[in-house]
């Protein structure tokens, strides 16, 4: 298995954990394996949580953190492995079982009824009632005493839709406390908070631990884990890399465990020869969709020249998706400007952007990239069906489309059961992606925006697409690549921009940096204040 670490420190700590007495472990998840068709999301993962500890779960996107927590919370049933609580095997087949065992969870996306008050949300499902009548005052007294005890300030009568994200989170926490939960799971709790709110939350979490509650803290932010956690379990690609004592490791070591560094898919490429400016982004801001009044992208400025690959690195959810939506026209920017080959396209339609030479390999191939129920041929001309080549007098020129599609299939080696006639839904993911790549590379363009172009593909296809992208660059196109895979970033980029919290926090030269440094920028524990100005230069 590539990616296994020779880290002596891990063995040491696992050893210590096993010596640890069983009576200390409140939760033991032993050898959990959860498979989905085509993928093992959790592969023989063992995770133990001691009473009164703050245990962090660290891993990249897709490492299996959420799956593991869903197993613990009863949302998924694992194929193998068992869960023990206080040494007793327990069966958690749905969230009600988890609640009955005192396990509570604050989800990344809050599960609150928007038009209910804070108090109503807290008691939802466990309403104190007498003869069918709600005893709201009894509930209010309990909620308010909990609120005071832990310093969780709330307004019990405010409606969820009217209160801040921070207070919504406190409502979620009170929900767990109201149910007397002893094991509290926090799924990426700081993702939506301001720095002050994060500090407060850390204090509150510590006070829970001091009281003997056990905390499971899911995050990919190293500095938070360093600040608050006692131990940390690292997952990578569905496997458990190890459990370490946070005090005994450095952020660099954690980062290395999380990312893993053995697969090196080197792409052959010569030095870039950047030409003129193709894409010019100035002070671009994009409003957040999920949190009103916040911005997902904050005053981002950068340029992409012809003949270079600029890569935006960063952990998923730091504004990359929103940035690309604004660049490609799927969403509107709230401020700033976008220039393409000297034309202002800030408010231009998608069709106009396409005409001006923007190609876009979208992040979600099923949602945006393809009409799955169309034939492969019809998908190959998704942006071009109206061009004179394929249309005459309002009628589609099927023969021409077929001819063109056959040509692309041959050129880009797209495999399918029935060639141009194949319904795209019946094709494999890799070939669907190849079809998109073929379409976007083959149409006339000066800028290629590629978002996670190799997501979910096998090694061969990844290599192929990487080579295509380099060829694009050498042909004089500007390439903007967004990737959550550090490998890909290091391999392909001529310049790396790191995004964190909706901002570009650093610009790096792949020749003069290493994965560890990029990882630190990605995790937000390092930032270049001059990055913005450098990126603009």
């Amino acid at each position: 298995m590539p990616g296994t670490l020779n880290c002596p420190l891990i063995d040491r700590h696992i050893g210590r954990k096993e010596r640890c007495g069983l009576e200390n472990n409140i939760i033991e998840m032993l050898h959990i394996t959860k498979e989905f068709p085509g993928i093992v999301a959790n592969d023989d993962i063992t995770l133990t949580i001691r009473k009164g500890e703050i245990h962090a779960l660290l891993g990249e996107n897709g490492a299996g953190k959420s799956t593991l927590m869903s197993v613990l919370f009863g949302l998924y049933n694992p194929e193998q492995g068992e869960i023990r609580m206080n040494g007793q095997a327990v069966n958690i087949s749905n969230p009600n079982d988890a609640t009955a065992l005192g396990i509570g969870m604050v989800h990344q996306h809050f599960k609150l009824v928007e038009c209910f008050t804070v108090l109503e949300n807290i008691i939802l499902g466990v309403e104190p009632a007498k003869a069918g009548f709600l005893r709201i005052e009894e509930a209010r007294a309990k909620v308010m005493s909990l609120s005071e005890k832990y310093g969780l300030q709330i307004d019990p009568d405010a409606r969820i839709e009217d209160i801040s994200v921070g207070m919504q989170q406190r409502t979620e926490i009170l929900k767990m406390l109201y149910r007397d939960n002893d094991v509290l799971i926090f799924d990426e709790p700081t993702a939506v908070l301001t720095p002050q709110e994060i500090t407060e939350l850390m204090e509150i979490i510590r006070s829970f631990a001091a009281e003997g509650k056990s905390i499971l803290f899911i995050s990919h932010k190293l500095n938070e884990i360093m600040a608050v956690a006692d131990r940390c379990t690292v997952l990578r690609k569905g496997k458990c890399v190890g459990t370490v004592d946070v005090k005994a490791v450095t952020p660099e070591e954690l980062s290395r465990m999380m990312v893993g560094r053995d697969v090196q898919l080197k792409v052959e490429k010569s030095k870039a020869h950047p030409g003129g400016v193709i894409l010019d982004v100035q002070k671009l801001s994009v409003p957040s969709k999920t949190h009103k009044g916040k911005r997902s992208v904050k005053d981002v400025s950068f340029k992409v020249h012809s003949g270079e690959i600029v890569c935006i690195a960063g952990i998923d959810g730091n504004g990359q998706t929103e940035l690309i939506s604004a660049l490609t026209g799927l969403e509107r920017a709230s401020a700033g400007s976008i220039g393409l080959c000297g034309n202002d396209i800030t408010r231009a339609s998608i069709r106009r952007r396409s005409k001006l030479g923007m190609s876009h390999i979208p992040e979600d191939r099923h949602k945006h990239g393809l009409v799955l129920d169309f034939s492969l041929a019809d998908n190959m001309v998704l942006q071009r069906y109206w061009q004179p080549e394929f249309e005459r007098g309002g009628f589609i020129r099927r023969a021409k489309i077929r001819e063109y599609s056959d040509e692309l299939i041959k050129k880009y080696d797209v495999r399918s059961g029935e060639g141009s006639d194949s319904i795209v839904r019946s094709m494999s993911g890799g070939n669907q992606q190849k079809a998109i790549v073929a379409r976007e590379m083959d149409r006339e363009h000066s800028l290629l925006v590629a978002v996670q172009p190799t997501r979910g593909l096998d090694v061969g296809a990844i290599e192929y697409i990487h080579n295509c992208i380099v060829r694009e660059r050498d042909g004089g196109a500007a390439v903007l690549l967004i990737s959550f895979e550090l490998d890909e970033v290091m391999n392909l980029a001529d310049r790396i921009l790191v995004m964190h919290g909706g901002e570009i926090v650093g610009e790096l030269d792949p020749e003069r940096t290493n994965v560890r440094e990029v990882g630190l920028y990605m995790a937000g524990s390092k930032r270049d204040d001059s990055a913005e100005t450098e990126a603009m230069a």
């Binding site: 993928i39 799956t67 945006h368 009409v371 129920d373 169309f374 589609i396 839904r425």
Partner: protein
């Protein structure tokens, strides 16, 4: 496998669920007939299945308006819009045709053509309004078009009652459409067969061409299958939504004209309108017809003729109320939805199997697995 074989296979796969649904629906209908009046069940069922053959002209006469409303619903559905407002558009079109017939004296054959054009305009207007609301303000077309059914019907009834030329108060209905404005009859001798049926079938063929041979049809189907991909590809969804609803409305509106202007010898049918504050059932039958015809223009022609066929049989079945046919049609619609579901299940299984075999290629990452949760979030956003 050559493309001809493939075409046949595709066609079979397309119509089999509908045929199966019809068979099962008829069986259930027969069971209901048995329960209602056992002695007459067999002969009654026979009448339902055969009587239509002896009255083909009437079958086509009644099929014409529901071909039109079926095309209206089916066409909009291809775009992903549920046009439940076909009744209102139909009524609006019928009124416009009537108004032109009574109030604008013109020589034949210009007069009936003008009546049809007026109906198209009225229906198109009634389709356009929900379309505009949907396109510009993202207001659900189902809700607006349901409301426009009522608004249209009440407006029409009011206008009819207040028009002394059209309305005969003592009979609580309009005058008969003047003979020289009626649609040209074919077959002659008081036959119910008229040019309306031919117009409807020609329009179905035309719609087929629009849907599958033009760039507009390409955009429309792309949007219906995946509106996100259509947006990504730079298609103008606002324009397309409004245009689709205008066309759907025009089709239903013309359906109203083809019904009211049709000459027939059937007692109590056609050439007159009763303003009795009831929503036209042709609109809802259009939904059933479109569903049974898989929203395919040619399929809709056949399913409309079939529905009309068993309705004719139903009115003739001894010892049963004609509503027995509504029960049968309800069963058929229910099972056609069910059959499509089963077909999806079978196809889905085969697809998954294929995906499983192609495992080395389809190496999905774990975050794709969380799809159900992600979908939930998307739902919330919308």
């Amino acid at each position: 496998m050559n493309s001809n074989d493939r075409g046949v296979k595709k066609l079979l796969l397309g119509i089999l669920p509908s045929l199966a649904a019809i068979a099962i629906g008829l069986i259930f209908g027969f069971i209901v007939m048995l329960a209602a009046a056992p002695a007459n069940a067999l002969s009654g069922f026979g009448t339902v299945l055969t009587r239509g053959f002896t009255r083909m002209a009437d079958v086509l006469f009644y099929a014409t308006p529901i071909i039109m409303t079926g095309l209206s619903v089916g066409f909009a559905y291809r775009m992903g819009l549920f046009n439940i407002g076909a009744s209102g558009q139909y009524t609006m079109g019928m009124f416009c045709a009537m108004y032109a017939a009574f109030m604008l004296p013109m020589p034949r054959p210009i007069n009936w053509i003008v009546c049809c054009l007026a109906a198209i305009a009225g229906g198109a207007l009634w389709g356009a309004i929900p379309g505009i609301f949907k396109a510009l303000l993202n207001i659900n077309e189902v809700i607006t078009s349901i409301m426009f059914n009522y608004i249209g019907m009440y407006i029409v009834d009011e206008l009819v009652r207040n028009n002394a030329v059209m309305y005969v108060a003592v009979k609580a209905r309009t005058n008969y459409i003047p003979e020289n404005v009626q649609l040209p009859s074919i077959g002659g001798g008081g036959s119910s067969l008229n040019i309306g049926t031919i117009i409807a079938i020609v329009l179905a063929v035309l719609l087929f061409i629009v849907l599958f041979k033009t760039t507009f049809g390409y955009e429309l189907r792309a949007t219906g299958f995946n509106k996100f991909a259509a947006k990504y590809a730079g298609m103008n969804s606002r324009r397309n939504i409004i245009l689709t609803m205008i066309i759907a409305g025009a089709l239903a509106g013309l359906g109203g004209a083809l019904y009211i202007l049709s000459p027939s010898s059937i007692q109590g049918a056609s050439m007159t309108y009763e303003p009795i504050n009831v929503i036209a059932e042709e609109g809802f039958n259009g939904i059933a017809v479109a569903l049974l015809g898989c929203s395919h223009p040619i399929g809709i022609v056949f399913s409309a003729i079939f529905v009309s066929f068993i309705q004719r049989g139903g009115t003739a079945a001894v010892a049963y109320k004609p509503e027995i046919i509504d029960v049968m049609i309800a069963f058929i619609i229910y099972f056609s939805a069910f059959a499509m579901f089963v077909r999806e299940l079978v196809l889905g299984k085969r697809r998954r199997k294929r995906a499983g075999n192609a495992k080395p290629e389809g190496n999905i990452t774990a975050d794709e697995i969380d799809a159900p949760m992600i979908e939930l979030d998307i739902d919330k956003e919308e």
